[in-house]
């Protein structure tokens, strides 16, 4: 009997270890809040380290408004988990939280975000606000601009006898062929294709720049556009333009191939405008030029943005103070000063233009022109099922470039999943 009891207790303890990771930690999250009173003059702000405005700026905000801000630094990967766990228990993980562009659909459906008031002037100045606007309501305000822009290594192109800036994907393909044939670099093109989020977004901007759309108006995949993008990506791999090892690299490792001189062309994040001018991070200073995204008949008339924003949780008990903070945080002055603190690219085009003009951004190339071409790839806003859809997309893209699937098989798998998710919605 005693043995049985011990056995049962041990089994229960062993099983309990499995639930340990799934337990809610909402109490500790809400514990970050120092006050639950509606009149509180203290708010919490949960975001990754790169969103931290720094003690000096926060002190200025407190002096101006009387609202003190507790910055809760959490890694980007963990924020969504913490917010969802707290929200499932009706708690606020923090008053103001990081909202990635890819989370906004699900957070809206879950009712976790409070609408934010912005002036028409603000809306016009921040094209990436469109990504965070659903049914006319602004759910978060972007603070870090990231849109896709093309980069080419002028030196490599010139060595291969190419003097014209490529404007179409056909011209890019021809240039890559010449660079590879001339032996300037072994793998002249770089693009994230690992089974993670960056492979999904890469396929999306590829389809967006080549065909002008990714999704149909009913949110289903546009077969022609997606198949074209998948086929082209696959061709770049099959033709040996992409380093096979990079198929399992993360996004940043792929992008760094341009700054290390291992690749000659890429489409990547705007932050590489700065990185390509930093001698500590780039061995090709002065050779990497940001240019407009290529298209089919000329440069692409649109680009995809992947901005990060701040939003106010519906469960916050300090909504007014949080609104005030978000407005201050996204103001032109703070955006400009934030770049000096943590290199966040401003989301206000007016600030971006000012910083290009005053030389803050060196060799900015087409950075400013591309910012005017930002459009959302989602006709009805980022869908609530984005994570599940993206998971299927990146796994199938990865399988395709590894030679396990044809572009058609990859598309069929994605299409079936997207249709299933739309039906369930």
């Amino acid at each position: 009997m005693k043995k049985k009891l011990v056995s049962m207790l041990l089994c229960a303890a062993m099983a309990a270890t499995l639930t340990a990771g799934c337990g809610s930690d909402s109490s500790s999250e809400s514990g970050e809040k120092s006050s639950s009173s509606g009149e509180s003059k203290e708010i919490t702000f949960m975001a990754p380290d790169w969103a931290n405005p720094g003690d000096e700026l926060l002190a200025e905000f407190t002096e101006e408004t009387g609202i003190s801000v507790i910055f809760n630094e959490v890694s980007w990967d963990d924020i969504r988990d913490k917010v969802s766990i707290a929200a499932s228990g009706g708690e606020a993980a923090a008053d103001v939280i990081e909202v990635d562009w890819s989370w906004v659909g699900e957070m809206n459906s879950a009712g976790w975000l409070e609408p934010i008031e912005m002036t028409d002037e603000d809306k016009e100045d921040m094209p990436t606000l469109e990504t965070f606007t659903i049914d006319g309501e602004i759910l978060a305000v972007p603070y870090a601009n990231d849109y896709r822009i093309a980069y080419y290594n002028k030196n490599h192109f010139e060595q291969a006898g190419i003097t014209e800036v490529p404007e179409t994907w056909d011209e890019v393909y021809d240039a890559l062929t010449k660079i590879k044939e001339a032996g300037i670099v072994e793998y002249p093109y770089t693009m994230p294709m690992n089974a993670d989020e960056s492979a999904t977004t890469s396929m999306m901007w590829m389809a967006f720049s080549r065909s002008g759309q990714v999704f149909n108006d009913d949110d289903t995949l546009n077969e022609e556009a997606v198949m074209d993008a998948l086929t082209f990506e696959n061709q770049l791999v099959q033709d040996g333009f992409v380093d096979p090892a990079s198929i399992s690299f993360n996004g940043m490792d792929c992008y760094r191939k341009i700054t290390s001189g291992e690749a000659s062309f890429m489409v990547g994040p705007t932050k590489f405008v700065g990185i390509s001018n930093d001698p500590e991070q780039c061995s090709e200073i002065g050779n990497i030029v940001p240019i407009l995204l290529p298209g089919t008949a000329g440069t692409s008339p649109q680009t995809m943005a992947l901005p990060e924003a701040v939003g106010i949780t519906s469960f916050s008990e300090n909504k007014e103070a949080a609104q005030e903070f978000v407005k201050w945080y996204s103001s032109a002055d703070v955006q400009k000063r934030m770049y000096a603190v943590n290199s966040s690219i401003p989301t206000r085009n007016s600030v971006l233009a000012e910083m290009v003009e005053d030389g803050t951004f060196e060799n900015a190339g087409a950075m400013l022109d591309e910012a005017d071409l930002i459009k959302s790839v989602f006709p009805n806003g980022v869908p609530s099922y984005y994570s599940e859809m993206s998971n299927t997309m990146y796994n199938n893209i990865n399988q395709m470039v590894l030679g396990e699937q044809t572009p058609q098989e990859a598309f069929d798998a994605m299409n079936a999943k997207v249709n299933e998710l739309i039906e369930k919605k």
């Binding site: 043995k3 041990l10 062993m14 337990g23 499932s88 879950a110 090892a245 990865n398």
Partner: protein
């Protein structure tokens, strides 16, 4: 105990019987066992189950065999026994995520130590893609996890070896037993309960692998086990209903294994 274990266990079970997708907060209907049916019949579950069973088998075999082997080596009294013991225990002290990150650098396709070694020794000209083949990836994960779990098994086995009375060996030697006979009829049977503990521990470790997979391969389908599947369903796709059902399935599997091993522990030892 009640608050920390039974309350979340009961709550997880109640979630598993409901439609509970956080992106549809108004839709929380009772759906009975349909979440379980969905989970058990999905291709994704079958795939993850295969990966989990593969990891379980390889981790248990590697941990037990090598753990027992290390214990036999450490049981030999030498001047550097203390140092060897400290070295053997070192991997056990590593947090799983750190363990995974260390091995990711070793198997990184671009600048990994293993590829540099193979290319340096002219064994291969091209970098080996260690982490893009399903079974190779799983084998590497199993080796990495076994590397971390071998020390515990070795210490348990070592304590077992120390617990065997010296008189038994002396009696065997007087009876003319050679080394193999002594091992077969004395050491091995008396070590079974300790090996059982090692197997139990290795099994729990193998079912709970998470950090090493994430560090080596991320959340991609290729190497996902049931725990990754559960994490994705619950926290990435925000489907708490289905995720809870999946968690319960894993719990039941672990409990069955626990009962099986505990029963084997209670076996009478004959020598």
């Amino acid at each position: 105990m009640g608050v920390l274990v039974f309350y979340p266990t009961i709550m997880t079970f109640s979630y598993s019987l409901k439609e509970m997708k956080l992106t549809s907060p108004e839709d929380t209907d009772f759906v009975g066992l349909s979440n379980y049916a969905d989970v058990l019949t999905s291709d994704s579950f079958q795939y993850s189950l295969q990966n989990t069973l593969f990891l379980l088998a390889v981790v248990v075999v590697l941990t037990t065999v090598l753990g027992f082997g290390v214990a036999l080596l450490l049981n030999v009294d030498t001047k550097i026994s203390g140092l060897l013991m400290a070295l053997a225990i070192l991997p056990w002290a590593l947090p799983p995520i750190v363990n995974g990150i260390i091995w990711r650098f070793i198997f990184h396709p671009g600048y990994g130590f293993m590829n540099k070694l193979l290319i340096g020794l002219h064994i291969t000209d091209e970098p080996v893609m260690w982490l893009t083949d399903r079974w190779l990836l799983l084998l590497i994960v199993a080796i990495v996890v076994a590397w971390r779990s071998i020390p515990f098994c070795a210490i348990v086995c070592l304590s077992g070896l120390h617990a065997i009375p010296e008189e038994l060996y002396e009696a065997a030697r007087i009876d003319g037993g050679n080394r193999i006979a002594v091992f077969r009829y004395i050491t091995a049977p008396l070590m079974m309960p300790f090996i059982g503990i090692g197997i139990t521990s290795a099994s729990i470790t193998a079912i709970n692998i998470f950090d090493e997979i994430v560090a080596l391969a991320g959340y991609k389908d290729l190497g996902k086990n049931l725990l990754i599947e559960s994490y994705l369903t619950t926290f990435s796709f925000l489907d708490f209903g289905r995720g809870s059902a999946l968690t319960y399935v894993i719990m039941l599997m672990a409990a069955v294994l626990g009962i099986f091993y505990l029963k084997s522990l209670n076996r009478e030892v004959e020598f």
